[in-house]
């Protein structure tokens, strides 16, 4: 998030010009018209810095609001600066909350924002929330306050139940998008789907694949039948194959499909029917779901895969043979998410079948190593890199890796922008040479000059961080776990990477010296997370004292001695300390 976004007074731009500010050659209306074409937030930030009238023109023409950290600014400040917002994106908790590193009720509740939006932006149309707590009350407020509301996205959010969704379905007459991603909400029943009014037909996006509920299939079928503009439909696993077929018959125009459960005993006739239903979907670009799909029924998909660009197999554990057969039908694949049961062999098939691949994510089927399955190794990654030279995004969970393999991989694919390698055993060295994995990540940062996001793992010394600080000039997000030897490592990164925005560290031997070395840097970053490192309360207090525009929050662990600061979250803010901090969050 740009610092300027949170500026609430135009005094900065005013200061740079004296009272002899020349008249603008353009009348305001022209300026505003021109500026209204600018969408990119970075550009808008730059625009607002030019002169005072540009600042004003920009703020009056901005319609999309992006807030990367909901605590970096307050609703009041936002309301004062931007009077005409139609679309809001709000992100709340730090990313590590996805992995249970944050206690419940930590915060990021959207309600106070909605209250303000209801007052100031009655014509709000879109709301996209990530990692926020959204209660039913908030959803009800949302549903009733914005008559033109169209699109709701809840990504990794919690706190709501079917009551809230019922309110949305019943009251949002113009709803086009209802997109619930990666929800872990337990308490959701399926009745909300039936609350869409009978004449409601405007839906374009419907995604409830992560909700654990049973919806009324009849109501769903009718809904799909009515909504002729539906382009994204992602159902959950309560929908059977045959039911899916009926949905597909109503909506062959779909561009993104998330299937239900693929496990059903089909008669040959049913098999044929579903096969032809899939074949009729000629616009399909994204496919996901496929729960419990087996080699028996996967072939029904083949007819729909010709135009597929994104295949999400992360919910179905395929074996290498069936996976390879499927891939043959997907030559245009750009993005693939898969579980490591396909093993290296499957990845070899990927390398040969999908030369256009740009993104690969391989998830572990056995993260806690209970079953001693091999999963994927450096060989699979190598095979993909040889066949898919355009690879730019990778997330790879494996149990072993070598420096040499990574060096070769980035030589094959130098265009990486996101390189997230997770060697699952903490602190594991190169399994062939027993050396640290320093050289691997050195190669990554040296070769991949466009690298924006990096996650490191394995046995790493400070050398890795020296390299990162020295070479990773475009790096914006860095995630570190169980790595480093001393404060020096973290210091290298803080002093080096000029574009660093997010730094997340856990279980590393970095202490107060490292924390404090980045004082000024944190004001240019979105946030810093440090947990289970060697940082103490004293260090945190010192940082808080020296940098008043940073919020330094320590999450207290019960039963901890008071000296250690186990979980530290530092972020810049113009809103001051949180007002809704729970008792276990200490703002220093």
């Amino acid at each position: 998030m740009d610092p300027d976004q949170s500026e609430d007074s135009p005094s900065n731009s005013a200061n740079s010009h004296g009272p002899t500010q020349p008249q603008s050659p353009f009348p305001d209306e022209v300026l505003e018209k021109v500026l209204s074409f600018i969408d990119s937030r970075k550009d808008r930030s730059s625009v607002s810095l030019v002169r005072k009238d540009w600042y004003n023109a920009e703020r009056w023409t901005r319609s999309k609001l992006f807030i990367g950290n909901c605590y970096s600014v307050s609703p009041e400040i936002v309301a004062r600066r931007f009077p005409r917002i139609k679309s809001v994106t709000l992100k709340g908790k730090p990313r590590f909350s996805d992995f249970n590193m944050l206690p419940r009720d930590w915060g990021a509740n959207v309600h106070s924002w909605l209250v303000m939006f209801a007052k100031v932006y009655p014509f709000l149309e879109e709301l996209r929330l990530k990692r926020m707590t959204v209660t039913d009350e908030s959803l009800e407020l949302l549903a009733k306050s914005f008559p033109r509301f169209k699109a709701l996205t809840l990504s990794s959010c919690d706190g709501f139940s079917d009551n809230g969704l019922k309110a949305i379905a019943s009251h949002c007459r113009n709803l086009t998008e209802l997109d619930i991603q990666d929800s872990v909400t337990d308490d959701v029943g399926g009745g909300w789907l039936s609350c869409f009014p009978e004449n409601f037909a405007s839906l374009e996006v419907l995604n409830f694949s992560s909700l654990n509920c049973e919806v009324s299939f009849d109501d769903l079928e009718r809904l799909v039948g009515r909504c002729k503009s539906l382009r994204v439909l992602k159902v959950n696993d309560s929908i059977t194959l045959d039911q899916l077929r009926r949905l597909l018959v109503h909506a062959p125009q779909l561009m993104e499909l998330g299937t239900g459960s693929f496990m059903q005993e089909l008669t040959p006739r049913q098999y044929e029917d579903i096969e032809s239903a899939f074949s009729n979907c000629r616009n399909l670009q994204v496919l996901s779901g496929l729960w419990e799909a087996t080699s028996l029924y996967l072939p029904v998909l083949y007819g729909a895969c010709a135009s597929l660009t994104f295949l999400n197999l992360s919910d179905v554990a395929l074996q290498s043979s069936e996976f390879a057969k499927l891939l043959v039908h997907c030559p245009n694949l750009r993005r693939l998410w898969v579980i490591d049961t396909v093993e290296d062999k499957g990845l070899e098939a990927l390398g040969s079948s999908c030369p256009l691949l740009e993104e690969l994510r391989v998830f572990p089927s056995d993260p806690y190593d209970r079953h001693h399955r091999d999963g994927v190794t450096e060989l699979g990654f190598l095979a993909v890199s040889r066949g898919c030279r355009k690879l730019r995004y990778v997330l790879y969970f494996c149990r072993r890796m070598t420096n040499a393999a990574v060096v070769t991989i980035v030589q094959n694919c130098p265009d990486f922008t996101h390189f997230r390698l997770c060697i699952m055993t903490p602190g594991q060295p190169d399994y062939l040479t027993n050396e640290p994995m320093d050289e691997a990540f050195a190669a990554v940062v040296k070769t991949c000059t466009k690298l924006k996001r990096l996650s490191v793992s394995g046995l790493l010394t400070d050398l890795t961080f020296e390299y990162i600080g020295k070479y990773a000039k475009n790096l914006e997000t860095l995630s570190v776990a169980f790595a480093g030897s001393s404060d020096w490592g973290m210091q290298c990164v803080l002093e080096g990477c000029p574009k660093l925005r997010k730094l997340e560290i856990r279980d590393c031997p970095f202490g107060n010296a490292a924390l404090l070395s980045g004082r000024e840097k944190y004001e240019m970053m979105r946030s810093l997370w440090m947990s289970s490192c060697n940082v103490t309360m004293k260090g945190c207090r010192l940082l808080a004292r020296e940098m008043p525009r940073l919020n330094v929050e320590v999450i207290k662990d019960e039963g901890n001695d008071d000296g250690q600061a186990d979980r530290v979250y530092v972020y810049r803010s113009v809103a001051g300390p949180r007002r809704d901090a729970p008792p276990f969050v200490l703002t220093l």
Binding site: M101, L102, V184, T185, D186, S365, F584
Partner: protein, 373 residues
Amino acid sequence: MAPPLITTTTISLLFSLHSFSSSLIPKTTPRIAQPLLRFSFLDFLGIFFSLKVESLMRTAVVSGGGGLNSIGSMSTLSSEEKSMVMSSEDSSSYPDEPELELGLGLSLGGGKAKPRPPPAKAAAAGSWDQYARILTAKDFPSMVSTKASSSSSSSSSSPAAKANNNNGSCGTKRTAEPSSPPGRSAVSSQVVGWPPIRAYRMNSLVNHAKSPAMEESASAIDKSKGMNLVLDKTNYSSNRNHNVAKERGLVKTSLFIKVNMDGIPIGRKVDLSAHSCYDSLAHTLDHMFKLSAAVGATRSKAEEEVIMGGKRRPPILLDSSSDFVLTYEDKEGDWMLVGDVPWEMFLSSVRRLRIRRTAEVNGLGLMKGTGDS
């Protein structure tokens, strides 16, 4: 935690057995001495050979859970024989490597070896006969499948699986060792939020993953254990969505039970399915409640070295001479001493754990132990 080397322990074994048997030889009656002497050497040879057999079953021993610490019973025969080698296998690392396992379990109560010396049995010195059994593969009846995931104690407490299970106490302060040995080690087990997989995906894994490979190992587990490891839903104390009727027949990935300790008002939870033996559980609890550092850990360093021959020491909670005792409440509501029954049986009957101070436990009629182990 390297497994003991055969050479040094064999030698010490030789010496100790020799000295033991010679101490048994009455000085005045050669005739009686002879058979005894012969008996002990032959016995030693027999044991040695059976150990060879056991080395092939090493992983089985590992998965037997708890190892053959019942060597301790032998040492209780006469206190001077503390030098008797007792090597408990390390149940965590390298389950697939055929290291020779020196488990000199000369006293076995039932097919499974126990982690604690049976309290009352080995009291009488001189009742050497009933303990001098030659171990053969038959003594390890249930150690069939080496692939069984039970041999992997590197399974973890799967905290990420239950996203809404946070009650303010998650993200605990466990720091895994930064450099762990290569290969599957136990280090990655007890760490919150690692590997970094979103809670949604963890739930999805548990619910839906049903590949043939997974099914195969699930049934292997069943066979080898002889009892159902798919744990009782009543024991499944995490906040899984009970609306989900779609649980497929897979081994549940966690069994969190409460652990309380005398004098500490706030309890903890531990994932039993992340352990395959008492040792590993006891070490985890030790770490959780910081027992080794607490007042009451009464063993001296010298003692420890003598006991183990320099190798891994038994956990405090399983050591009858420490000030702490680990007890559990079983399905019937009775409080029992942890360690008496085979691990799997324990898993199926345990409801919760409690660490008590031995001062209070004595009143329960439990013996404080008849010597160090």
